[in-house]
Amino acid sequence: MAFASIYVPNFIVQAVVCAEPELRGRAVALLDGTPPLCGVVAMNEFAMRDGIQMSMSESQAAQFCSVEKRRRSRAHEEAAHAALLDMSWSISPRVEDTAPDTIVLDLTGLHSFFGADANIAKELAQRASQLGLNINTGISANIEVAIRLARGFSGITLVPSGKESKSLASLPVSVLSPPVEIMESFERWGVRTCADLAALPAPELSERLGQAGVHLRELASGASKRSLVLAEPKTCFAEEIELDDAVEDLEPLAFLLGRLLDQLCARLQAHALAAAAIHLRFDLGDAFEKDLPVSAKTSTEEIAPKSYERDLRLSAPMRDSKMLLKLLRLQLQADPPQASIRKISIAAEPARRRATQRDFFRPNSIDPEKLELTIARLGNLVGSSNVGAPQVMDTHRSGAFRMSRFSPTNEESQRCRKAGHTTATQVQENQFAGDRTMSGRTMFGGTADRTTVALRIFRPEWLAKIDICEERPVQISFRGLRGKIAAASGPWRSSGDWWREDAWRHEEWDIHIRFHSDASRMNTEDPGKTYDGLYRIYYDHARRNWYVRGRYD
């Protein structure tokens, strides 16, 4: 049994650099505290070399122009820690969340995947560097020894079983993280290294420092043993970034979104998951007055929205950060925020990736990622409400439908296929002609193979003027066209929704019109020729008008 401990040296600085990759290789100092007590709490080696010291005040640190000053960010630290945990879970299912900068992994059973312990350590280092973090790795059969090795030595340190005491000997006692008063006692006694501490007699140490001292002695000698405290994986995938300067344009915003999406997708990949939806939230700054619509009815809160929230629902889970960025950009182009952005928060709904098995006898379905992008572009072109799959509503109102999301493959179709039913005999609901049975015959007679005349709908319907003779329409005129009604079928009366304000009562007719007006309005070639047409008209009792609903074609 072996354990690997990951330690991120100077964690809070690395967390900030991880969020801002352009700071890599530069001197960075972090400030924390409320003014005027704000001071330097952490720095990297470049800043230390330039002369920055701990607890230096903000004004003192400002004199070092070559050093990048940043505020300490708890959000960045949490995000970096979450990414480190996800990375650890991608290697081993048994992980202990020891400290914000320390994680321990159980390497049992991993050798068949990754090979020797050294290979596992290299894999850990490589994956951490992909996240933008430099880590130290210690591997030992003892959890506490592994933790101390990672904290004390840089790079990868492997200790074979039985050599724990010897490996810890040269490390300073500070790696054991003793309490302050015990540390002062060690300094007074001249105990500098773990070897010095391990050499002290246990009974006398217990008399002076109590059980805490004895425990520290066991840690120093590598004799302390404990079990791994497993961490449960959290299913919250979220990233956020606070901006020092508000962003107004789409280009820099897209750059920031891309970075957040890269981190998010990497974490999803570590869990073998994908994003089923992306929740986007912007905390907005003050909007410019000239950019806002002025209306007497809007209140102050409505005029200046403080946040912008949008959801991107995906037809199939995906974790391609570039594709997700394209979709978000299209959405933001269609519906941009009304003010500058001060904070970006992005969260993903995790879901299992789509797994499909292709069929020899069915054509390949559309790539869902390409389809999502195509639909987003079409939405930008014609409006998102004008793109989708039509869905007939369960009502007697003529022509009632709504636009729903286009998701061509569904479980019903696949179940029918698996049950051995041919696709041509799937059971379908037929609002007008009754249910279709397995044999393809309608309940009312006839076969489902008969070609049905199609109706083209005019949206909105055309106002018409009808001449009535003995309760039957005989002449019609609409849109500059006039014609004689050669044959008519009706009236077919229908009504509904009487309990609502938009109750309807119609009398429908199918008519055969013989036009005798200017045929150029009919877009015909021969102006002298009369043209017939089959139309559907109706009388609306609510509006007391005749309308042309559509044309049979």
Partner: protein, 284 residues
């Protein structure tokens, strides 16, 4: 030593025998996979709609173009193919389409407001790819506007679907795609059929609908359907050499056994005729 190409060719063919059939024959570009339109008469006339090619259907209003499109759409969605309709005039009726057997879940409907949106939407859908059946419906776009569409647009659309399994269908009032279309079908309205309870035929001996005095008679009547006359103006598919029509289903057809038929008539029925008893008016 001079090379005998005939000997070399026969050696290569012998070496590849059983693995590659006719390695030196160029593939026949006119051989395409055709799919059923859902109307037997049209299938017999044209061989079906070709995949990887542009098919153009044109005709005046009320000539059966949308009927043919909905029939083909019903067939494609029944086989779970993803279909797209770019509707330049927002005239599609999903209720009737569902009643005609179209699986609306398989249909992506793009409702455009003008022809520019329709053409750009078609570009986006063809570039995205993956659809088995794409229809650009310009039925209600005026002839003047449709004539202004540059020919390169049709070339671009045809090129986009070449070597794919996509059927691209164009519906217009007059033919504009010219040589870009592999199949051009002209439709004309035939006879409208009315079912009535009266024993008196609706039409007189000359085939004209009876006058106002007849219309004043009280009887129940409903639109039973209409006949559509279809004619092939251009086809790049292989000619159909053997045709068989059932004469009692057609009022008129050009049938020449052993030669290629150019036109046909198919019958479209109104939804009402699917239920209830019908008294068919005697036609000519």
């Amino acid at each position: 030593m001079p090379v005998n190409f005939a000997t070399l060719r026969s050696q290569v063919e012998r070496a590849l025998a059983g693995r590659v059939a006719a390695p030196f024959d160029c593939p026949d570009r006119n051989v395409t996979e055709n799919v059923s339109t859902g109307i037997d008469e049209i299938d017999l006339l044209t061989g079906g709609f070709p995949r990887g090619a542009l098919t153009e259907i044109f005709g005046p209003p009320c000539s059966g173009r949308t009927t043919l499109f909905v029939s083909a759409l019903s067939k494609r969605t029944a086989y779970l193919e993803e279909c797209a309709l770019i509707d330049a005039s927002d005239a599609f009726d999903p209720c009737h389409a569902q009643a005609a057997g179209v699986d609306l879940k398989q249909l992506l409907w793009v409702r455009c407001r003008n022809i520019n949106q329709a053409l750009r939407a078609t570009d986006l859908i063809l570039q995205g790819g993956g659809f088995g059946f794409v229809c650009l419906d310009l039925s209600d776009v005026s002839r003047e506007v449709a004539r202004k569409i540059p020919l390169e647009t049709w070339f671009r659309f045809r090129r986009a679907v070449e070597n794919t399994r996509t059927i691209l269908l164009l519906i217009e009032q007059e033919s504009n795609a010219k040589t870009c279309a592999s199949l051009v079908l002209k439709l004309e309205a035939g006879l409208a059929r009315w079912s009535t309870t009266s024993q008196t035929p609706l039409r007189n001996e000359d085939g004209q609908i009876r006058g106002a005095d007849f219309l004043q008679q009280s009887f129940a009547r409903f639109l039973a359907g209409m006949d559509v006359h279809a004619e092939v103006l251009r086809s790049r598919m292989k000619p159909v050499t053997k045709l068989a029509f059932r004469a009692n289903r057609l009022s008129a057809a050009a049938i020449n056994s052993g030669s290629r038929a150019q036109e046909t008539i198919f019958r479209a029925n109104a939804l009402w005729s699917c239920f209830g008893k019908t008294f068919e008016a005697k036609q000519q």
